[in-house]
């Protein structure tokens, strides 16, 4: 009896599950059956496999071919199993040695001419294969760099099915190789995004300081101001201030982007914090992740360990904003669908920009504002209390005066500020080591009120604000976090009364108690 088996990987969210792909060839009327909960694109793999096998001169036998994907109860999606199915069939027919093929994991989509096409999510799939004890993987050429990022993986890459067969010791007529495809061979050079420098921002001393504090402590930030004041400019310059990602973080971030299909492996692991700025018409699934059948990560997950920027935040749909509360609290998103629940990491830094009212001119004394008072109140209340309560820094940005414009860009450059941010982060990491936090913005409240408790003299203003109801208990913790960041930026060992006062001002949009 012809039985061949090899391995593939099914992805559920970010976690891969190894799948045994078995092919069984028996006498009977010719048929090709795929069992084991395939979705439509996977079910159609039989037609691609049939054509690709014919292309290398190993037509399907005129027999009954049953392909089983085990565990059969796990739903499987996508065309990434094509190569594994083809190899299992070849092993069942005896074209490839069964014991050789069994030890490999195969990933890749097949073209009708036998060409191997790249697939999404190779990084987490290879991680799963290595973890399952089969570190030898075959991937499409275009995914090779990505697969090689996984420590311990033994990667073999191929551009077509014939090359895979030769790699496993089989023989194929070279005349059967598909022609070189210019489309896949010459990737368009990716233009590096323009370097955004903080020095480009005119004036805005307070807002600039707020951006620096946000970068140093990983705090969420709200920028309020009239149109044209430079809110968007400031926010776009925040990622440039953030330090590079560590090894572990880089693998997490790269894995998310691999699943999302927004990752170009040519540049290696993603080392820079990502920046995502969805438009305010974005739907909930596009921000938190979703999709039918297979759940894809949304903007919030793609911004993991980076910045999620919501420009014109009150214009976002209410449910989109509310959906962000879970990731803000837990650092991950669980999306449940009929096909199963997927968990994506989403520990991002939230930056929102908003006009103070629909007409945008209500900042300062608000004399130019033409909105009715009710409209004005309603506008900002779209950013609900629970959401705003999680934002540590809330700053009003005023339009720069003519004097500031005339003086020109005398502000510090990104490089100077980034150096201060790096030093402040180093101090935080030393203090927070072993607490499960990387920066002040993530520091647990119990720690702030426990080991790092500040003397009553220092937190006097804060206690008063709490008593007067101007702060919630969560807000109290958040001000403490900001105070620690301010102290770290000053190189102080612990925050003093000034730091706490400044943190309170940053929290309450300058209207301190």
């Amino acid at each position: 009896m012809g039985l061949g088996a090899t391995r593939g990987v099914a992805l559920v969210g970010m976690t891969g599950a190894p799948v045994d792909v078995e092919a069984f060839v028996t006498p009977g009327l010719p048929a090709f059956v795929v069992t084991g909960l395939p979705d439509t694109s996977l079910g159609q793999s039989r037609d691609r496999v049939r054509a690709a096998l014919a292309g290398i001169g190993c037509s399907l036998p005129s027999k009954r071919v049953t392909v089983n994907l085990s565990p059969a109860s796990l739903p499987k999606q996508g065309a990434g199993f094509d190569l594994a199915v083809a190899v299992a069939v070849l092993a069942a027919e005896g074209v490839l040695a069964r014991e050789v093929v069994r030890g490999w994991t195969h990933l890749g989509e097949l073209g009708l001419d036998g060409r191997l096409r790249p697939v999404r999510g190779v990084l987490p799939a290879v991680v799963a294969a290595v973890r399952a004890g089969s570190p030898r993987v075959v991937v499409p050429h275009e995914n090779a760099a990505e697969a090689e990022l996984v420590p311990g993986a033994e990667v073999r890459s191929a551009s077509c099915l014939a090359a895979v067969v030769r790699g496993h010791g089989g023989e194929v007529d070279p005349a059967c190789d598909p022609e070189e495809d210019v489309r896949t061979r010459a990737p368009a050079p990716v233009e590096p995004p323009p370097r955004l420098d903080l020095a480009d921002v005119v004036g805005q001393v307070e807002a600039r300081r707020a951006v620096e504090v946000a970068a140093a402590g990983g705090h969420h930030l709200l920028l309020l101001g009239p149109p044209g004041a430079g809110k968007t400019m400031l926010a776009a310059r925040l990622p440039g201030l953030l330090p590079d990602l560590g090894d572990e973080e880089a693998v997490e971030v790269t894995a998310v982007h691999s699943v999302a299909g927004t990752f170009d492996a040519a540049g290696g692991l993603l080392r820079r914090p990502p920046f995502e700025d969805p438009h305010h018409t974005a739907t909930t699934p596009s921000v938190v992740g979703g999709g039918s059948g297979v759940v894809r990560p949304g903007a919030a997950s793609r911004a993991h360990r980076g910045v999620l920027f919501l420009d014109e935040a009150p214009e976002f749909r209410k449910d989109v904003l509310e959906a962000l509360r879970q990731p803000l609290e837990h650092g991950s998103l669980v999306i449940a669908r009929a096909g199963g629940a997927a968990r994506y990491p989403a520990r991002f830094q939230l930056v929102m920009a908003a006009n103070p009212c629909p007409c945008g001119r209500a900042s300062g004394r608000g004399e130019a504002c033409s909105c009715a008072p009710l409209e004005r109140r309603r506008y900002l209340s779209r950013l609900s209390g629970p959401l705003l309560d999680r934002v540590d820094l809330q700053v009003e940005v005023t339009a720069p005066s003519r004097a500031a414009l005339a003086v020109g860009a005398e502000g510090e450059t990104t490089a100077v500020v980034a150096a201060r941010v790096r030093a402040a982060r180093a101090a935080q990491q030393e203090r927070l080591a072993g607490e499960g936090a990387r920066c002040n913005g993530e520091a647990p409240g119990s720690l702030l009120r426990g080991r790092l408790r500040l003397p009553p003299v220092v937190v006097g203003d804060l206690d008063a604000a709490l008593d007067r109801g101007r702060l919630t208990v969560r807000g109290y913790d958040r001000v403490l976090r900001t105070a620690w960041t301010l102290a770290d930026l000053d190189g102080a060992d612990a925050p003093d009364r000034d730091h706490v006062g400044a943190a309170l001002l940053l929290r309450l949009r300058g209207r301190a108690a």
Partner: protein, 126 residues
């Protein structure tokens, strides 16, 4: 159509020879029916206790030995096999043939340009 008719008749002769060599006794050939099922059984044979309807498919091969129009068995779809089975039931009723079991077989006849034909025989396809 003439050519394929001839090829088909040739294939059925080869198939009958094969079945008899395998110890089966041919009961009827090209048995046609219009009611309750419309169609034709190529060969009806007895294999021990069983009454067998045999669907014969013939293809001419190129010089390399591969049938140009695909393997004969590929033309025996599950629907075709099921129809032959219904025809076999009709045959048993019409002729009064009694059997312990009813079975549908498929026989492929591959005819190369020169030399003897190759025969493949599948037991119990429906």
């Amino acid at each position: 159509m003439r050519t394929t008719d001839a090829v088909g008749r040739y294939g059925e002769q080869v198939a009958v020879a094969h079945l008899e060599a395998a110890g089966m006794r041919v009961v009827a050939r090209n048995w046609r029916c219009t009611s309750p099922v419309r169609g034709e059984i190529d060969v009806v044979a007895r294999d021990g206790d069983a009454l067998v309807a045999v669907e014969v498919k013939t293809r001419r091969c190129g010089p390399a030995g591969a049938p140009g129009a695909g393997h004969p068995f590929e033309a025996v779809t599950p629907a075709k096999a099921a129809r032959v089975r219904r025809l076999l039931v009709a045959f048993a009723e019409a002729t009064g043939e009694r059997a312990a079991a009813l079975r549908v077989d498929a026989v492929a006849v591959l005819r190369p340009p020169t030399g003897p034909a190759r025969v493949e025989h599948l037991n119990g396809v429906a």
